[in-house]
Every structure is written in C-alpha cells, then in structure tokens.
C-alpha cells in the first residue's frame, strides 16, 4: 500500500477527489468513545437523581436550579447518541500525495491536506488512547493553528506508518 513511487503522473488521469475511498476509524476508537460518553452520561444522570431525590428536605435545592441542571445530563446523552451515529461515518484516506479526513452527521466536512504543504506531523496520545493502543495524528501546515489537520482514532501502528509516509514523502519531494 505505501510504496514510495515517484513516477510521472498525467494530470488528466489523476484520481479525482470524488472517488476517494475512506477507511473508517479503528473499531476500538468507536467502542471506547461509546463506553466513555455512556459512562459520563450515566454518572451525570445518577448525580442529578441523587440531588433531586436524595435523603434531604425538598427545599434545600431550589426546584428551578434542578430544572436547569436537568439539561446537563440531557446534553451528555445527546452527545452519546450523536457519537453512536457519527463516529462510524468518520473516515480517512491516504492517496499518493494527499491525506483526507471526513467527519460529521448533519454537517459533513471533508478536508484534504496535500503532503507537500505539511510542515510537521505529531502523534498525540492521551491516557485512554495509550491504554487501548490508539493515537491521534496531527499535521500542521502554514494555514495556521485553526486549520490543523487532525485524524483521531487511528490505531497507534497506523498512525506511526502514516507519519513515516509523510516524512518520507517530504524528503523525497
């Protein structure tokens, strides 16, 4: 898949942007996010229920505050539902000269980053990602911090291979 060819390419036969095949994120990433978001939502519900029906007189916490606080576990549950549907649709694709990332459920975003414009790459791993062998790849271009190209939910092995490919591409071009 990742051989370093540098052949002459005819611009008319270039594979078009519309025909990119996206590879879905690692299954572990989808699962970890579901469990994590589910746990957060559940614990928020438990907290709220404890505050609302706890063993104390009813007037210690004003009902209006409880009503407002009700939105917090609701939002957490919504983000869980969103993740359940949106995460499997995330995907990335590596072509010979660029890297693409697709995400979103209602608002679909497809970003394409040419490899020659990448200034440096880094791999980010939080504690959970380290525990489950996941990694996030970040590629910085001259477009500034706001347009950092980030692919979350790669397996650590894939992320390292991607980084090596990008670095090799930079030195060979």
């Amino acid at each position: 898949m990742r051989d370093l060819s540098n052949d002459e390419i005819d611009l008319t036969t270039l594979s078009a942007h519309e025909s990119i095949n996206f590879i879905p994120m690692s299954g572990k990433y989808v699962l970890v996010r579901r469990v994590l978001l589910g746990a957060i939502a559940l614990s928020l519900w438990v907290l709220w229920a404890f505050a609302a029906f706890g063993p104390w007189p009813m007037d210690i916490i004003a009902p209006s505050i409880l009503n407002i606080a009700f939105t917090i576990p609701c939002l957490a549950s919504l983000s869980l539902v969103y993740a359940i549907f949106a995460d499997p649709r995330k995907g990335y694709a590596l072509r010979e000269h660029d890297l693409s990332y697709r995400s979103g459920l209602f608002f679909l975003h497809t970003l394409t980053q040419p490899l020659t414009r990448i200034q440096h790459v880094e791999i980010n791993r939080g504690p959970l990602q380290r525990r489950y062998g996941l990694a996030e790849l970040r590629a910085y271009s001259a477009g500034g911090q706001a347009s950092t190209f980030a692919i979350p939910g790669l397996s650590h092995r894939d992320a390292r291979q991607l980084r090596e490919f990008i670095v090799a591409h930079k030195t060979s071009h």
Binding site: L14, H97, T110, L111, T112, P114, T116, S147
Partner: protein, 521 residues
C-alpha cells in the same frame, strides 16, 4: 551571479567592507545617540506599574519643594543620557561577505551573528529624528523568533540600500527565485505614488477612526472636557439641556447638530490617521519584490518578495464605488516558522485609494493575465439567500419586533417593525447573494463578495495549503456545498456552489499543489 561585481563596487563605499575576511568593527554615527536615548525612555515607559508610584512621588515632591523636583528630574535625565551614551559606545557591528555581527549592551551584553541566508526580510525604518540626516535604521527579520530582532541602529540610507542589495543577491533561495521571475531587473521601478488628495479620499472612504481611537486612548478625558468647552463657546451647554422644557423642534435640532458634528469629527480624525500612516506613499518594484514606503512621523518600509504573495484583494467600500476608487491589499504568509506572527500589519501591503486604471495595471503586474474585474463570475446558488435570511435576518427581525413591543406596548407597531425589518433583511440577503461569485482558470482562483461594498480576491492554485468541503444534508440533496481554501494568510470560503464545480476546483488545485512542485513561498 554577479557577486564579484558587487563586492568590487562595495569596496569603494565607506561603510561596507567585503571580502573573504571579516571587516573591521564599525561604530555608529552620533545621530544614533537620539535612538538610544529614546529607547531608554521607551523601555522606561513600558514598565507602567513601576512608573505610576514614581509619578505620584514626583508630583508630591513638586508640590512641596520645586528645587528638589528640579534636581531629581535633572538627575533622571543625566542617568538616561549616560546610559544612552554607554549603549552608544558599546554598540558596534561588522560585515563580512557571509554574515553580519552585532555587539551591543552595557549591563547585559549580547552578540548576534546573523548569516545572510537566514535573513528573510529587511526593513528600513526612518524615524522622524533621522529624517534630515540621511540615516535610517535597518531591521532584519529572521524566520523564527520575533522578539530577538537584529538591527543596525543608524546607517547611511545609500549604504543601507547597497548592503540590502548585496544580502538579497547572496541569499541562495532568493537567487533562484529571482532567476525564475520573468521581469527580474535590478532597477527600482516606481509602481504607485499617492498624493495628499488620495489620502484624504482614503480617510473618508475607509473609516480609520477605530485605529485612531485606540492610539488616542490615554487622552480621552482631556478630549471630553475640551469638546465640552468648545461646544459651550458655540452656545451649547450640555448640562443645560433639559428635554422637558425645550420644544420638540429645538431638541431635534440640537440632536441633529450634534450628530453632524460627530460625523464631521469622525471623518476628520479618520483623514488625519490615514495621512499619518500613508503620507508620501510609494510602492516600488525592486527585482521581484514589492517595497512600500510611507509614514508622516516614522517612515516605514515593508518589502515583500513576489514569490511570497499569497492573496491579492481588491476592496471597495460603497463610498469607494461612488468615488470610483480601489484599495488593493497584497497578503503574504501571516505565519512565519509555524506560528502566526503578531506583527500582522507588516505582513501585508495596502495600496490606498487608487483609480480603476492604476488598479488594473498593478494587479496585472502582480498577477499576470488575471483580469480580476472582468472575469465571468458564476453566481452561487440562490439558496444562499434563504440561508442568510433564516440564519441571521429572521432572528434579527424578531428581536427588533419583540424589543419594540416591550418598549412601546403596541402590537401594531411591533408587527410593522417585524415586516419592515424582515423585508430589509431579505433585501440585504439578496444583495449579499448577488455579490458572491467565483471563477477559476488554469492558473487562478478568483472570487467576488461583498454587501454594500464589493471585494474581489484572487490567488494561485498552487498556493493552497488545504482544501475543505462542507455540506449539510439539505445542501447534499440539492447537490450543493461550501468550499474553503486554506491559504497561508487567510481562509477563503465560497458558499453554496454546485458540488461538481467544487470538485473541479479541488481537483485542479490539488493537482497543481501536488504535481507542479512549486513552493508556496
């Protein structure tokens, strides 16, 4: 190239010593004392928290004992002078054919060794106290640290120009870029010059009041009392105005007068600020780079190699459209060395209030064959009108009408306001849609946008850093999308275009970025 020639020529000039060996250490001319003295004062003023108790102490001393105050201030001045003289004596620099070395500092000594190829940009700044001496301050931009800037504090303008020429021809990247550029001549070619009249127009059409207000912030209190005193001289006493006793007519008249006065004042300040920044504006082309010089008090020079130009904007506010004037902005990469540079102003060149013909010539020079104004721009989808209306103008109208109801308690009035505001909103949305247009050819991507005014913009396909395609499911159903081009200076988003057109543009840009091998800077 013609290094040998340059060196031979430079050997004749008094300040530049070329050759394989190092030149001798050079000292500064006496005028540099003024620079150092001012630097000490600036440094002092920069530490405000230290300054405030000092001012209070000085004030209380002056109140009780004027001699002590006098002696103390003399002492302070002496310290300043001695320190600047020491700084002046300690400062020296030398040039070789490869690098420049600068030694400076009395207490904290520093030595900078700057190889020519690391110099990204050279600025010649001429503060007002250098104006009549023919000296200038030469600042070197290096990629990377913005703080640790090297500068030759005072150097003859002619020597500086020569020296700059030599560094530019020495730098290896510059050499290849120059060789590739089609119109590479060493002679300076004047492209645009601005007269006072143009600057007055620029001040009128581009409200620069906010820049001015920011700079004038320390004097607000004084300005307020001054305005009140001027008004009272004209028979308007702010504290005497009592809305209940005056007739409606006179109240209206007073308010109108005040509004007109304020508008006049704003326009005047804006013009003054335009003149201060753009006085004696010249734009020159020196061997494939643009050099801008302007300034009333401090003459500033910004230079931009054409290869670093990312985006050209052709801006017209509604008043510019009436007066048939254009502002052109050349943007170079905003971030040097990975981080966004905070000296954003020096990263772009603004050419103020030029005529259509001048603008066409200038654009043709910077981006050949682009034909910015007369391209056949394709309109974006009409659904943009609905989107703008629903997203912005409808909530805005509802807010207005609710506000009216709460204030006036009249249902009829609030309904009238709702209808009027939403009608105006629709007009505004239609106008924004009408302005939006896009165009691409084999070389360039161009766009047109605006509302009351009008902007054109254009960039080369291969300058693109990243492309982004945005769709909502509703847009997807109508085969539409929004397309963002991330450039090194800013991101351009073209909304609501057919997906086929977007794909075509993406494929072309990516193809050029990935296969032309042309660098973006």
């Amino acid at each position: 190239m013609d290094d040998q020639n340059n060196i031979a020529q430079d050997a004749n000039s008094p300040t530049i010593h070329a050759g394989k060996q190092q030149g001798p250490w050079l000292k500064l001319p006496p005028i540099a004392l003024a620079y150092f003295a001012l630097a000490v004062v600036k440094n002092f003023a920069g530490q405000l928290e230290m300054l405030i108790p000092l001012v209070f102490a000085g004030y209380s001393i002056a109140k009780n004992n004027i001699t002590a105050f006098f002696v103390l201030s003399m002492l302070l001045m002496c310290i300043t002078m001695v320190y600047s003289v020491l700084n002046f004596i300690a400062y020296r620099y030398r040039l070789s054919d490869q690098s420049i070395e600068i030694r400076s500092g009395v207490i904290q000594k520093s030595q900078i060794n700057l190889p020519f190829e690391r110099i990204q940009n050279i600025k010649l700044v001429q503060p007002i106290y250098y104006r009549w001496t023919g000296y200038c301050c030469m600042e070197f931009d290096t990629a990377g640290s913005a703080k640790n800037e090297a500068s030759i504090v005072a150097i003859k303008l002619t020597s500086a120009e020569q020296f700059k020429q030599r560094i530019m021809t020495n730098a290896p990247t510059q050499k290849s870029a120059d060789a590739a550029a089609p119109k590479s001549t060493d002679a300076e070619r004047l492209l645009i010059k601005r007269k006072l009249y143009d600057l007055i127009l620029h001040g009128l059409t581009n409200n620069r009041i906010w820049i001015f207000l920011g700079a004038a912030a320390p004097f607000y209190n004084g300005i307020g009392t001054y305005i009140a005193s001027v008004l009272s001289r004209w028979g308007i006493d702010l504290s005497q105005i009592n809305l209940k006793t005056q007739s409606d007519f006179s109240v209206t008249l007073t308010v109108l007068t005040l509004i007109v006065l304020i508008l006049l004042l704003v326009a005047l300040l804006s013009i003054i600020s335009a003149i201060i920044t753009h006085y004696d504006f010249t734009l020159e082309k020196v061997s494939a780079r643009y050099v801008r010089r302007s300034g009333l008090f401090t003459k500033r020079e910004v230079s931009m190699p054409l290869r670093r130009l990312q985006l050209t904007l052709y801006q017209q506010d509604w008043l510019d459209l009436v007066l048939k004037r254009v502002n052109i902005v050349f943007q170079q990469n905003a971030n040097v060395g990975g981080e966004i540079s905070n000296t954003n102003l020096s990263q772009k060149i603004l050419v103020p209030s030029i005529t259509y013909d001048e603008a066409d010539l200038l654009i043709e020079d910077a981006m050949p064959n682009v034909n910015l104004r007369h391209n056949h721009y394709k309109h974006v989808s009409r659904r943009l009108i609905a989107k703008l209306w629903l997203q912005f103008w409808l909530p805005f109208s509802i807010m207005i009408s609710v506000g009216t109801y709460l204030l006036a308690k009249s249902l009829l009035l609030s309904i009238i306001m709702l209808v009027c505001a939403s009608l105006l909103g629709s007009l505004a949305a239609i106008l924004s849609w009408y302005r939006w247009g896009y165009y691409e050819d084999a070389q360039y991507v161009c766009f047109r946008r605006g509302f009351l005014g009008r902007d054109f913009g254009c960039f080369l396909h291969y300058k693109v850093q990243q492309v982004q395609l945005h769709e909502t499911w509703l847009m997807k159903r109508h085969k539409l999308c929004s397309l963002s081009f991330v450039l090194a200076s800013q991101t351009i988003k073209v909304p609501y275009i057919p997906i086929t057109a977007a794909r075509k543009m993406i494929n072309r840009s990516l193809g050029q970025v990935e296969h032309s091998g042309q660098s973006w800077m």
